[in-house]
């Protein structure tokens, strides 16, 4: 698959997921087994009204979407995927007003499972706000 076609498909993928769309997620980049997706700060996504910090759940949704997109972009992936489990570590509060950018990488696949690592940061890429590890269903393409 060409890069252009992959990019187009990835964009369509995000836009076809009502929840990702509702959270304003935007596709940034995709390649063989990795994806980058960002999400804007929005007053509706705030988890702590005193500080304006985004709710962890919205960050989870971003990580989950990004992980799924990374799995689907894997060269050996035959079809869609579903999350088996996802663990998120919240390292610090995301700075209010800043976009959150996530990147997910598939680091291993078997015939039926894809293992993914992901991290997310705001405008300070040196200090991630969250990290995630997950297992996703995987169907290896027969070639």
């Amino acid at each position: 698959m060409t890069e252009d076609k992959k990019t187009k498909l990835a964009k369509q993928f995000i836009e076809a997921l009502p929840h990702s769309k509702a959270l304003g997620m935007e596709f940034e980049a995709i390649g063989d087994g990795f994806a980058e997706i960002s999400m804007p700060w929005d007053a509706r996504f705030v988890g702590d009204p005193e500080t304006g910090v985004i709710h962890g759940g919205a960050v989870s949704a971003l990580m989950d979407t990004c992980g799924g997109a990374a799995v689907m972009s894997h060269p050996q992936s035959a079809q869609g995927t579903a999350t088996i489990d996802l663990r998120i570590d919240y390292m610090r509060a995301a700075t209010p007003g800043q976009r959150i950018r996530a990147r997910a990488d598939v680091y291993h696949v078997t015939r039926s499972v894809a293992f993914v690592k992901a991290s997310a940061h705001d405008d300070d890429p040196e200090n991630p706000v969250a990290a995630a590890t997950g297992a996703f269903t995987f169907q290896m393409a027969t070639s």
Binding site: E50, G56, G57, T65
Partner: protein
Amino acid sequence: MKRPEPVQVVKSRRDAALTKLYSGVPYVQFLGVQFDRRGDELTAVLPYDEKLIGNPILPALHGGAIAAFLETAAVIELTWASLWEQLEAGDVDPETMNTPRMPKTIDFTVDYLRSGLPRDAYARARVNRSGRRYASVHVEAWQDNRNRLFAQATGHFLMPPRDDG
């Protein structure tokens, strides 16, 4: 001996305190999460909405929406459990109390057991350990059948500093 308070007074105090915990959180409102209360037992309710869908072909609820729902159920249960004794002792008045400080999530792990159907979902959280600083909470979520969980989660939380020092 003091006469027990009328049941309606007790109920409305508890409900007012519970509402105060989650009604001010924008993201909880965005998802549409509500809470049912029976005594001190809470059930989080996620009414179905199209914007919660992840896979429109199946269709199935988005894993991120499920994670957010379970995390909300865990955080509210933890805050509610730590507020309960003061509330019952009459040490806090829901009308005048400040919104309690929320615990911070350290980590949260979700098991997706089956796909979430386009229906209402329910969750109950159990605080397995609650210390001064750290707490561990387990959450179970189901849809039509209480015995067929569609997701479960475990999370660790950092408790807010207590006012009493």
